[in-house]
Symmetry: C3
């Protein structure tokens, strides 16, 4: 569902969406500062529109003014590159980086002015120099600011979506940066100063990233899925076929999948809370919090949110699959056959009834809690809570969710783990495998709650260090809703 | 669920929520600038509270100071209009526009000062002049700024919800505007400069719009629903009644609806991706991207997000309806009757079993993908991703969703499309109708992926034009996560 | 799912997440202003990282520079406290409040400088003075600004999540405040001026609150749940056991719960709209809107959003529970038994079929509407709509939801309310109880829509007062998407 501006007024400022709109052309302010734009591509046009809509005067430098003029709002003055540069103190360079050299002629007239490089590389550039740095070499007398490359022409046209759109800037001249920042703000964007031009390479590489922090969690979820699916296939489909020649391959699309998702969801959820426990144990063992965690633990800790959401997705799919079960024709047929073969003996098995009622209700509660956690991790919701509320949700509620889903699995298993008949090919039932990690995580958490351990941990997290044998916290350590807790949640 | 501030501290700043709160009255800053307010209505009161809470000194001009004083926080000085205007350089005019004339007496003392017009019309005003423009005529020596009319008194009182609340401003004097913008920022709002006072009419009309960008998509969804419902009613309810006298009207509330929603969802989803294909073909045919799309295509392109969400809603309702089916008494009775009439022949039909298992699982996957797309189009989520991630979700995942839901429909249909018995009244089954557009969209997309076509399209989107027969992109076209792709997603 | 930055670039700026990242060390700007930090705790370190990443030069004052240096990014100059204070005009005080006294030695060199107190109390401090006020007493020649305590070290490290992160500030010196505000903005945060230092106590207490606005609604929902569960247990489980000795305790985990949730959801939903009706009636009775509502009504009005969300949660759980019903073994067994006992008489009961089909479809529609309301109350969505759209959703759609869910309950009840056999222990069926409040709310709303009443109410809400017997609105009352409506939604 391609996102676009909810506020038609501003969108109408864009030509793409035009066909209507006095705002297409709000006369720009004669007193307003002039901004120059070199280049007449899509980005230049969107930028010009936004600038005009924000009350700036715009001078566009084109190598072919006549041709280009038609493409710009009539308030924008489309002239030669030299003229445009002459009019403005702040000039956007919106030409392909490979063509920056074509601007050499403008060097003298650009001296002492601010150049904003909005370009992106075609691919990730690891070793630099960045386009912006090359531009700065080209125009040593001008102060180059990198920015706007993380904003798409589309976003520029429709305007800041909800006033929280960030523009990352960097540059070596403070004054140049602040003038660009002011411009950003007048357009309704939120500028963020990223420091010196040396950061420009990172800023240029930003638009090329594709969910980097999702890779690890997604991969691990996929592997878990593959493993458990194969395992279930072996136990539930292949085994009856091999041993009894019973063909139940029709189970593969739904039943086997639905036996896999809960296992994946439970294990992934336990992976959300294990690193916190590891971190705490590590701190206890080291007797300080001032040594960095090992790298793998760091990455694990920072992947918890994504792991949690993966776990939630699996749980949700498990819920849907389970609800779908009774609508399958196979279930329908099974029922008919059963009712046909039915002898006079009583069909009602009380234990079975209780088991199902209990594990179903535990499952529903667990799913409800997971949904709360998922909603709470939406950016706008997470922003509205303070640290204490956040850790209450993610830590307290999170552990409740882990506990209840473990309970759900235990109730589902009932006494089957001890029934040899369940060990097809000598393989333990899936739920038994899935229970290992969650139980470890829960026991670990319990151990940390033991008074002595908890006290010691509390001290360490307030800055106490065994090595220094001081009982009180370091005076130069502020007690604050702190980072230390981040490894704790 | 009437929305209100999550942050009670600030909310307590409001009287409505009062009953508590030292913040009800934070002594205001003697050194702070004075802001004047003309008018003592709700808006004035909320404004006064917010200004005081932001450390401003407030002078309220009332025609009846004694009476009004009680309504304002005690820090606000409630005096005569003349006095209030005398104290402040920046004056909010919060009286009914029809009563602006009553302020004529203040003309001399308002000269050279900044007037902020916060008024709204009672209805949409198409031809102007706007209230602000009329106010500017009334006070030629003052510089009028339009703004704050898009903010409700309630929002003012509870404060900016999450720091991303925009205030649209316009005015002819730059200095006046920037002083108002600074004031906005100190209150925690995000000011957006909309240019000259000529934009004020649009800003005044903003609060009157009611989901303008939802009209078209919602209408089209409704029409599709009406059509398919009628069609299904004809085939599944009326036909058996007319031909066999079999009364199955009980199907109308659920079964017929549940046969309608999937069709609507699928067609609407295809409508999300068709315009992109059209746009691409148009660009290929024209051999350039620099000609504007026809108006209908523009509007279609900008409605894609809403169409997608409509499609998701229908899909979600379809899911719920389908899950509800087995809990209906009718299903229950049917089953009992079937089990009663059951003869000795085998009830198990393998093809049926496979068909259902397959289309159900395809359906679940499709719904999962649609849910992802829906979540990704939440403002706060969409803001957190860069262009590449955004187009990955909306384009790649989107087409996957379209493909899988088409597959779901095909599997549901199985071989029925070729079974004459299915053609009640010679009408083809619903799923066959619903499949037309999606298949077109998918084939169109496939065609665009053909190497030669894709290359050509890529060139065009980098600025190449057949007319100019140049093989390389225009140097004055920046390669940027660009608008061109917007028509592509 | 512990939340963390979506933007790895900035996160890499943090050590916790480090292990990668040129941004770990962006050379800081020689021309940039110097910011001092006293204290070397987690918060100081995160703050230093963020400041360096935002292009500031940082001087950290430690009582043990050698030891601490390792903990800070290499751009940050870690020196003695005295030296650090000497270098900077703006100094963050990030030491435990109980150790503020240890800074006394710095008094002379801190004179005339801006001190930012970032500390929090260990617990809620009701009567003051706040840490900041005590710090101000300690350093009378410095101007103290309170702030940053609502931001966690973690948030500082990962940077502003989506550019809408607020930092609440207060202080007595305007210039000091604005310099701190500018610093906030350069870091990408949204500063909010909360007035004089007297507000610091509230700001310090903020991080200690735990969902204050959820207490009342959650409590009321829980009580309703307890009551209705007990009521259902009595009627559906205990009664058959006592009277007929029939043990149906297996109903407790699911069936009884599922009979409870709808009742709770419906009553809670009616509680969302009752206060609006009360408010309107009160205004009609008083003949003015300028008298404050009684306290209980105020609190009720401000809890509506939370009540609504509670109602939605109950409705969602009710939906899941109902969908789960047919998958229970008990349902399975019941069906088999039924099909076994089945005599030749016809099983099909038309009334039953229609009843179920109708109440199910009404239920689905009601749930769909409630979901819309829930989504619309997400901060980021609520921010994107204007007042008219907001009140359309929350008022118009809200009443539709209330009406349809009442209908759902009525259809579910069918004629049972008049069937004496349903009155176990002479207790009326649950749905009858649950219907009382919703019906009241709906009738109240209807009454308010009566032309005469509506006209009068409209007048009052535009500022008319019976006492003054004026027919037209007060001229000094701006017609604006106003607060008055807030009590109306």
């Amino acid at each position: 569902m391609p996102d676009e501006m909810a506020r038609p007024l501003i969108r109408r400022g864009g030509g793409e969406a035009g066909c209507s709109g006095r705002l297409e052309a709000p006369a720009s302010d004669p007193g307003a500062p002039v901004v120059g734009i070199l280049g007449t591509g899509d980005f230049s046009r969107s930028l010009a529109r936004r600038l005009v809509a924000s009350g700036y005067r715009v001078a566009v430098g084109s190598r072919n003014p006549k041709r280009s003029a038609a493409l710009f709002p009539e308030e924008a003055e489309v002239t030669s590159q030299l003229e445009a540069v002459g009019l403005a103190d702040l000039v956007f360079v919106a030409v392909f980086p490979e063509h920056h050299s074509t601007l050499a002629a403008l060097k003298p007239s650009l001296a002492g002015k601010t150049l904003v490089d909005v370009s992106n590389g075609l691919s990730v550039n690891r070793d630099g120099p960045s386009n912006a740095e090359r531009l700065a070499e080209l125009f040593p007398e001008s102060s180059v600011v990198k920015g706007f490359n993380t904003i798409s022409a589309w976003t520029l046209q429709v305007g800041p979506r909800d006033g929280s759109r960030q523009i990352l800037l960097c540059g070596n001249s403070c004054s140049a940066k602040s003038s660009v920042m002011q411009l950003c703000r007048r357009m309704g964007f939120v500028p963020v100063d990223m420091g010196l031009l040396s950061s420009s390479l990172d800023i240029e590489n930003l638009p090329h990233r594709l969910f980097p922090c999702w890779r690890l969690p997604a991969l691990c979820t996929l592997c878990l899925f593959a493993f458990f699916y194969a395992y279930n296939f072996l136990r539930d489909v292949l085994q009856p076929y091999v041993t009894a020649g019973k063909s139940v391959f029709y189970k593969m699309p739904i039943q086997t999948v639905n036996a896999t998702f809960p296992a994946v969801a439970l294990v992934t959820l336990s992976l959300v809370y294990l690193p916190g426990v590891c971190g705490a144990l590590l701190q206890l063992w080291r007797g300080t919090k001032y040594d960095r965690f090992p790298c793998w633990l760091d990455r694990w800790l920072t992947s918890r949110k994504q792991l949690g959401l993966c776990s939630f997705m699996c749980a949700a799919l498990h819920a849907i699959y389970s609800l779908v079960l009774p609508s399958r024709k196979s279930a329908h047929f099974k029922l008919l056959i059963e009712s046909k073969q039915l002898q006079e003996e009583d069909v009602w098995v009380d234990a079975e009834v209780w088991r199902v009622e209990l594990y179903l209700s535990a499952g529903i509660v667990a799913f409800g809690l997971l949904s709360l956690l998922a909603v709470a991790s939406l950016p706008s919701v997470a922003n509205a809570v303070n640290w204490r509320e956040f850790s209450f949700i993610q830590s307290t509620l999170g552990y409740c969710a882990l506990f209840v889903s473990t309970l759900h699995t235990l109730l589902f298993g009932w006494d089957r783990a001890f029934d040899p008949a369940r060990y097809h090919f000598y393989l333990p039932p899936t739920f038994a495998l899935a229970l290992v990690l969650p139980v470890v995580a829960l026991l670990g958490r319990l151990a940390l709650l033991a008074p002595c351990v908890a006290r010691r941990l509390g001290l360490i997290r307030r800055g106490w260090e065994r090595s220094r044998h001081v009982r009180f916290a370091r005076p130069d350590d502020v007690c604050c809703n702190g980072l230390e807790d981040a490894s704790y949640v």
